[in-house]
Amino acid sequence: MDDRSEIARAAAEAAARRSYGKLVAWLAARTRDVAGAEDALADAFAAALERWPRTGVPAQPEAWLLAVARRRDVDAVRRRLSGEAARDHLKLIAEEMEARMTGEDLPDDRLRLMFACAHPAIESSVRAPLILQTILGFDAATIASAFLVSPATMGQRLVRAKARIRETGIPFRVPEQAELGDRLGAVLEAIYATFAEGWSDPTGTDTRRRNLATEGIWLGRLVASLMPDEPEVLGLLALMLFAEARRSARRGPEGDFVPLAEQDIALWDDDLIDEAEALLVRAAQREIIGRYQLEAAVQSAHTARRRGSGTDWAAIRQLYDALLSVAGSPVVAINRAVAIAETEGAPAGLAALYVLGDDKRLQDYQPYWAARAGLLARLGNIKHAAEAYDRAIGLERDAAVRRFLQGEKARLIRN
């Protein structure tokens, strides 16, 4: 398939997912029956995924899906649902569509659906998969392979979560301002988890996982368009775009790991970085700081190299101080120690790192050992540096990163 038809296919598929998600959200928000909404549209969605790449996207995609959904035999749906609920709702939605045929869009309830999927009464590990399935129409097998669990397990978790939404009475609404902070945090966390799963496959050889990063960004854009004044929404989108912009610079031509400081800036995507910077500026206007804005600002400081100036370590250090106070985690603390080493010297960085040593979780955390090895090496403590490299190498799952660490250790011993 040539590039152009590949792009056309991807565009048609994206349009099908967009329309499907809107219809599922509209139906589910009115029935609280997510599985029923999916069932009612399943065949029509499959037909759209198959046909639209060949025929082009119809002028009114939602109306097209509804017309096909209404034509199909609804016996299967009727068996699943109480009475003829699904058919009644399909009729309802179709009537509303016909009344709006003037070209106005179906109301967008996808945000409400996302808040239902990321409700505190839903187990946190299933929130991101649930959003991928309901908003984007991915099947359980695809989601399972991306999140590295068996298809049967993922299928079961999704079915249970949807039953829970209906039976527990989880509402489809955007929470009031008073509780919006926490609840929005859960939605953003699910979107970031989606992106991070895709990001963890840096070479992008695994298509499904690479797509996951793209879908995470797509969901981030969707929420940003529906909540354009929420600074953390903009912050998360900026963070994902900064990371995505560096994708092709993360590996050398031989597939070798390239650390951030040594990446070829010519391989960074300037458009994405510019967009991320603009989002951060917009977010900052609200003067409500948060975790994602801070993390995005760290990324922004790292990309300062692009404009000829060096990496702004003093700014990075300050940002990590702030991050530690709003969203402290071992990961943040390690990065902060590295920033301290860059601004105040390796002994200060190492001291900040040793303070963390009591945290049991870090014993099995590769970046902790790699950071420790790097700082010990700088101080000429070869023996302990080599030991720390060994720990880091033993903990790393990515072969390219392992090769990089082995190379660092070999260089250390040679010198």
């Binding site: 109480s82 009475g83 409700h119 009464a121 009475g169 509402p171 929470p175």
Partner: protein, 122 residues
């Protein structure tokens, strides 16, 4: 939707509490019940006698087994219940959080399985 609020407390601690504290707890429950009534959410609610007054019954081989004591020994014991009407789980969670038991023990929220729903599903 109808929701059941099942109240779990450490009944020994409750029994050993000073009289003054017990009266405060009772007053808190009184105010809470009053608030439920006023909002129209209240459907039912009672306090249960402690597990020392509990009897468990099971039929085995045609014989009725009667055991003194609760079905399961737990750290906190079922101490009472409310049944409320709420639009959704968020409203029910708000009521559960206001219940005095939420700060002394646990409030378990269970939606009522309406007969109309499981009969229609058959």
């Amino acid at each position: 939707m109808r929701y059941m609020l099942l109240i779990y407390n450490d009944e020994t601690a409750m029994a050993n509490a000073p009289k003054e504290q017990t009266q405060q707890v009772l007053a808190a429950y009184g105010a809470y019940t009053e608030a439920l009534h006023k909002s129209g959410a209240w459907l039912a609610g009672e306090r249960l006698r402690p597990t020392q007054a509990t009897t468990s019954v099971r039929l085995a081989g045609g014989k009725t087994n009667v055991l003194d004591g609760p079905y399961a020994d737990t750290k906190e014991q079922l101490a009472g219940f409310y049944m409320i009407e709420a639009a959704d789980i968020d409203t029910a969670i708000e009521w559960a959080a206001r219940c005095p038991a939420a700060s002394t023990g646990t409030v378990e929220l269970r939606p009522i399985w309406e007969m109309a729903e499981y009969i229609a599903a058959e």
